[in-house]
């Protein structure tokens, strides 16, 4: 095993060559990897001087010495896994699929499996060729390129026309630390009228980098309820990307939930490419200590009559920082667009910092777009009102924080995940209360 730093290009090339050597892959895939590596090396390594990284200091990344993984199957005791959120779960350890720990739905019109395995399946290869790393958006994102070059595995979901995933699917990624880097790569293809609910769940121990990329393509009238819940180790880096592509009348809801990682950044690109499509993008970040959490969201309205809604909330404690950078772009032909964006931050500490950068790029003239952003401390009047009814200060604060976050938590339509979030909120609030004492 070799320790590498991500900004060291020779080292990254070395890791890449070893990866190709360790795996015998179809030439189509190898060619894609080479293109992606070239892209990664062409793109400037993130630096604060770049606009996109102005508020998120990527030098934190340089503290991570990233080890490439040896070949061979990962080993993990099933007892170390968090409780399953749903009966169907695919488990990945350090980016690699562990069949023995996974429970898959019955295959048929619904196809769920490991992405690496699907390349060997002639019938699926055409789909992979068409969609993998082929959806628009985030072309300048170096970690997406790096993931495209170095990913080991991920989930492949394909729902044929009208197919419904009856049981929600959990994609669990476990990182084992030791300065390892993993690049989970998921592809979700829902054909016309298909329907699914999918939860990505990231956990880990110790210091590591997890850089997942999820690409989602929805056919006409397809419906997806998607969650990405990052509960990484407090020493970890999590640099994620999400690409969403919506055909006519498709409906995508994606909820990004985070409480972990020392440095977290998720970039989202949603393209509404068919009339009547609707995208719902929500986020909730709970940060403390010196955590940094950054959501970069870009919604592109390409055609008329689409709607989108962004709702991002953060609860910041200690010296943590949160960045929200949200863009709505309305293309020239996209008349009758209705696009809303709202971000709000609740500061529990005077040393916490929140940064919101809403951006509207509107090239059509008959649209309804809005954005709003608020940052503030707990409302004193509200706190007094609760206390004047006999409710103690700590509980009153907890009630108000919960009230702030509830919009996102209550909209989580998977009870087990909702319960997990409520527990996380309670845990964080208890910590905040101890600070008060």
């Amino acid at each position: 095993m070799t320790a590498i730093a991500l900004h060291d290009q020779d080292a990254v090339s070395g890791v890449f060559e070893r990866l190709l050597h360790d795996r015998s892959e179809p030439t189509g895939l190898t060619a894609r990897r080479r293109d992606a590596l070239a892209r990664f090396q062409r793109l400037p390594f993130p630096h604060r001087r770049q606009e996109a990284w102005r508020f998120t200091d990527p030098s934190l990344l340089q503290e991570l010495r990233l080890e490439h993984l040896p070949p061979g199957p990962p080993v993990l005791d099933a007892g170390r896994l968090p409780r399953a959120l749903t009966p169907h779960r695919l488990v990945f350890v350090d980016g690699r699929f562990v069949a023995g720990l996974s429970v898959l739905p019955e295959q048929g019109r619904v196809m769920v499996g490991s992405l690496a395995g699907m390349w060997r399946d002639e019938a699926q290869r055409a789909i992979l060729e068409s969609y993998l790393d082929n959806l628009p958006g985030l072309e300048d994102q170096p970690f997406l390129a790096l993931n495209s070059a170095l990913h080991a595995d991920g989930v492949y979901v394909r729902l044929r026309r009208g197919a419904v995933l009856e049981t929600p699917l959990e994609i669990l990624h476990v990182a084992t630390g030791e300065d390892r880097a993993s690049y989970p790569r998921h592809l979700l293809v829902l054909e016309d009228n298909a329907e699914a609910r999918v939860v990505e769940h990231y956990v880990g121990e110790g210091r590591y980098l997890c850089a997942p990329v999820t690409e989602i393509r929805l056919g006409a009238n397809a419906m997806l309820d998607h969650y990405r819940y990052q509960a990484e180790s407090m020493e970890a880096g999590h640099l994620g990307a999400l690409r969403l592509y919506l055909s006519a009348h498709a409906n995508a809801s994606t909820t990004l939930l985070g409480g972990g990682a020392k440095l977290h950044r998720t970039e989202v690109a949603a393209h509404l490419a068919g009339q009547g499509a609707h995208a719902e993008l929500r986020g909730l970040a709970l940060t403390r200590d010196r955590q940094l959490s950054d959501y970069h969201v870009r919604v592109e309205h390409e055609v008329p009559h689409c709607t989108s809604n962004q709702l991002f909330k953060s609860v910041l404690d200690d010296q943590s920082r949160v960045v929200f950078d949200g863009t709505i772009k309305v293309h020239r032909d996209a008349q009758k667009t209705d696009a809303q964006q709202s971000s709000s931050n609740l500061l529990l500490s005077r040393r916490a910092q929140a940064q919101s950068n809403p951006r509207l790029e509107i090239h059509a003239d008959d649209v309804s777009c809005s954005h709003g952003s608020t940052t503030g401390f707990l409302d004193k009047d509200a706190l007094f009102y609760l206390r004047a009814r006999g409710i103690g200060e700590a509980e009153a604060r907890a009630m108000l924080v919960y009230a702030f976050a509830h919009e996102i938590v209550d909209n989580t339509r998977l009870e087990t995940l909702q319960a997990r979030l409520e527990a996380l909120l309670r845990e964080r609030l208890t910590l905040a209360q101890e600070d008060l004492a």
Partner: protein, 248 residues
């Protein structure tokens, strides 16, 4: 029950209360009337313990406690209730959940077990009927999107559920139409008893037609300038406060 002696208080370094003396025994309803800016609401805020009101002199005894030494929640747990002039909206805090948290905080303080959900629901439904509040309000966030009248009714509902020893009503009647006013008054009257006291702060005599006070005090410029029976309210209604304002 509540004894206020020579109470002085400032807000942002401005003296608002300039020596209030008031004694309210259990079983009595006292009304405080006065022009705008006379210090009525400041008195209510000081009694409830709101931040930003500095007591610069005097004392307040409530059931043997030095009230001014207690945190707002401790005052509430000892049985003090303030019906807010401007009830706060709490989006995201469910009314029922809020009431239950309040009831149980007070019960816990008294060393009583938490109320179970069934008993609690029964209590709240009974009290909601008393203030003619639709059950759907109980499921909504506290005061969120409520009209002015609905907010005031919600205050009276909270009071009916918490059954305080002493309640301060801070202009609960302002902005209410006559029907809503009657509902509020009925809620208060239902709670009147020999071991409970009330301080009703109002700008208008009208409320006192429905909540009949034992005593009426006139507050002008931070001092009580006159006290009398309920007929004093009618006199004020006819003559206004001009007489007192010039004297103060």
């Amino acid at each position: 029950m509540l004894t206020i002696k020579n109470l002085h208080a400032t807000v942002e370094d401005r003296e608002i209360l300039r020596g209030i003396d008031l004694r309210i025994p259990a079983g009595e309803v006292h009304a405080i009337m006065g022009p705008n800016g006379s210090g009525k609401s400041t008195l209510a805020s000081v009694l409830a313990g709101r931040e930003g009101y500095e007591v610069t002199g005097g004392e307040v005894d409530f059931l043997g406690h030095d009230l001014l030494e207690l945190d707002p929640e401790e005052r509430a747990r000892e049985g003090l209730f303030l019906a807010f002039q401007y009830p706060v909206e709490l989006p995201g805090v469910n009314n029922m959940y809020f009431l239950k948290a309040a009831v149980n905080a007070i019960r816990k303080h008294r060393g009583e077990p938490e109320m179970d959900t069934m008993d609690f629901m029964e209590l709240v439904n009974d009290r909601a009927a008393r203030v003619k509040m639709d059950q759907s309000f109980l499921k909504r966030p506290v005061n969120d999107g409520f009209s002015g009248g609905e907010k005031k009714r919600n205050e009276v509902l909270q009071m009916s559920v918490l059954e305080p020893r002493f309640a301060v009503l801070d202009e609960t009647d302002s902005g209410l139409d006559i029907d809503a006013l009657k509902v509020v008054a009925d809620g208060v009257n239902a709670l009147r008893s020999a071991d409970r006291g009330f301080l009703v702060i109002t700008h208008y005599q009208r409320l006192l037609n429905y909540i009949e006070p034992d005593y009426v005090h006139v507050l002008v410029n931070g001092r009580i300038v006159r006290s009398g029976g309920k007929e004093l309210a009618l006199e004020l209604e006819e003559q206004g406060y001009a007489l007192y304002e010039s004297a103060a």
